[in-house]
Amino acid sequence: MKVSAQNKAFAMLLSFGLVAGCSSTGETIGEGDYGYESGSDVAAIDEDGGSTVYGGAEGEGVSSTALSDEEREEARAQAEQAALRNITTFYFDFDTSEIKQDARDALVAHARYLSSNPRQQLRLEGHADERGSKEYNLALGERRAKAVERFLVVNGASRGQIETVSYGEEKPAVRGSSESAWAQNRRVELIFK
């Protein structure tokens, strides 16, 4: 059997240990046909449809037989969400804390994940570029982190899952004094704990 990209992504999903939460939100795959083991390195699915998917910690060990179209579509959507959640750094314009349009989908994916995994804790680290005053930048970094926090909460995360901290300009991602370095340093990083 050929291993499709979808299935690979599906396996990756499992490997992230994300699936357990899905059942509580009705986003289960195949209407609860599958049983999972979560919280272990390997989650296996072996059900009527005859497909067996192994999700390894490093995304290895995938074998599969055909899924139904419906299942495939669901898996594709899941994979998309997982890919979005790989984005954990969000950038800002100079002296603003406005979440950019292109950051929204990924943040919504994170918010859904937090909502589905109420025990998951998240640390938001806000940063600024080196220009201007350090203390103002500290407050600016915090405002950026809080903007992301609000966005996540509005989209389903719980405030209790999130802590924010600002480092201002103290911890640049990139050293240097160029426009490109500054752009990479004006950021909020999501750190899942």
């Binding site: 005053s133 203390e135 915090e142 405002r143 901290v165 004094s177």
Partner: protein
């Protein structure tokens, strides 16, 4: 890993266990690893010509810089004096009877300092006299002494006396600087809070951490520093007693605890807290720990500083859309915006006389230090460098220290208050930033 000389505070001990401050090392006094160097970058124009004659010596003097050389360097550093090179002097007098005013007039000198050092046991005594060449008068004649290991203090004291006699303003050569150095190797960063003389000499590390330290602020008596340290994973304000190394957490609320500024009486701290959601300015009574909220706005309010009289407060707010300087006439009063015409003005620091306020000012995408006359509202840029931050005014209002970039590295630069003369203090290794000029200790 944690080394502390004294930690009698039970709270502190408990917190140490709680947070496991593994990477914080406290040192009441230790040798510095990132020393500051001094580099005079610009001479002064219209400086007063002064001759400091090499002091006569009786007895063995300690090795190292000579007292009269340090006095020369101090006066040069201030940017207010033009020092005559000793090789141009026609004679090297050490007392009044040896001073020929006509010679010094010919050399274009306004003032002449002469003196003699005497070693007695572990002490060095100095006798020094300052003469006004035009009036042919002695205007200062004193003695002072110090232990032989402390001749830099003796020299700075003499510089202070000369400065004050000539200008009528107190000298600041005996004051201290606090600053933060950063050395990075690979992914390892080490932040050090250090204190040195204003020429960068005799630096001592007061705190070392792998997490950022910023915003050191001197207590008015010069005995303590308040600062922000990230050693617990978030910004917390500490108060650090320099003589003992004893530290206490002054503010550790949820969110930001930052931008500490002492009241002139040393009884309270202005600070920025975000415990109610966003950055606001508070005043904390240090005896009771009680806080009073002084601003209440959805915008960022931070970087508070008392005015010279200790009545009103300057601060930074972006309530107009970008950071600008505001002033409230008394704590909690309706703020008045001071700066216009640039999208970025921040971190105001007033002088001790109520004449000027200094702040970070953006012009054409570059950040400079600007000075504003508080009576006329006239604003001028006084720095010629870019990426300038953290202005701190000397206690006599005649000099300003700030941080800037040289060859991509943070250095400290000292300028005269009008920007005329300058010297820079690069670190021998790594970067140096966040200077705070200490008070004159009486």
């Amino acid at each position: 890993m944690l080394m502390t000389r004294k930690s009698s505070n039970a709270n502190l001990k408990r917190n140490m266990v709680l947070f496991g401050w593994l990477m914080v090392m406290l040192m009441a006094a230790s040798a510095a690893r990132a020393e500051l160097l001094i580099r005079i970058t610009e001479g002064a124009n219209a400086a007063i010509p002064v001759a400091v004659v090499p002091f006569a010596e009786s007895g063995v003097m300690p090795a190292g810089d000579k007292v009269s050389n340090i006095v020369q360097a101090d006066l040069t550093m201030s940017g207010e004096f033009q020092l005559l090179a000793p090789e141009k002097m026609l004679s090297l007098p050490s007392k009044r009877s040896e001073v020929y005013f006509r010679d010094w007039r010919l050399l274009g000198q306004r003032y002449v300092l002469v003196g003699e050092l005497t070693r007695s046991g572990q002490r060095v005594e100095a006798r020094y006299e300052l003469f006004d060449v035009n009036r042919e008068q002695r205007i200062l004649g004193e003695t002072a002494g110090a232990s032989a290991s402390n001749i830099r203090s003796l020299a700075h004291h003499i510089s202070d006396r000369v400065y004050e006699t000539i200008t009528g303003e107190p000298g600041v050569f005996s004051t201290k600087l606090a600053y933060i150095t950063l050395t990075t190797s690979g992914n390892e960063s080490v932040y050090r809070l250090q204190v040195s003389d204003i020429d960068g000499q005799r630096s001592k590390i007061r705190l070392e951490s792998r997490e950022p330290i910023l915003s050191p602020a001197w207590s008015p008596d010069g005995k303590k520093l308040a600062y922000v340290s990230f050693e617990t994973g978030k910004p917390v304000i500490f108060i650090h007693e320099l003589a003992t190394g004893k530290r206490t957490k002054a503010a550790d609320f949820p969110g930001l605890n930052s931008a500490p500024a002492w009241s002139p009486d040393g009884q309270s701290l202005l600070m920025t807290l975000s415990r109610d959601g966003n950055a606001e300015i508070y005043q904390m009574n240090l005896a009771s720990g009680k806080t009073t909220k002084l601003t209440n706005h959805w915008a960022i309010d931070t970087e508070a500083a008392w005015d010279h009289a200790g009545r009103g407060i300057f601060f930074t707010s972006d309530r107009s859309g970008g950071p600008q300087i505001y002033y409230m006439e008394r704590p909690g009063a309706e703020p008045r915006r001071l700066t216009f015409g640039s999208r970025y003005n921040a971190r105001a620091r007033p002088d001790s006389k109520g004449e000027y306020v200094y702040y970070i000012h953006q012009r054409q995408n570059t950040f400079h230090i600007a000075r504003r006359n508080l009576k006329t509202d006239e604003e001028s840029i006084i720095t010629r460098t870019g990426s300038d931050e953290s202005p701190s005014v000397s206690p006599n209002g005649r000099m300003l220290i700030y941080s800037t970039q040289q060859d991509g590295k943070g250095v400290l630069t000292v300028v005269s208050a009008d920007g005329g003369a300058a010297y820079s203090l690069p670190a021998s290794e790594g970067e140096v930033r966040e200077p705070a000029w200490g008070p004159i200790s009486r």
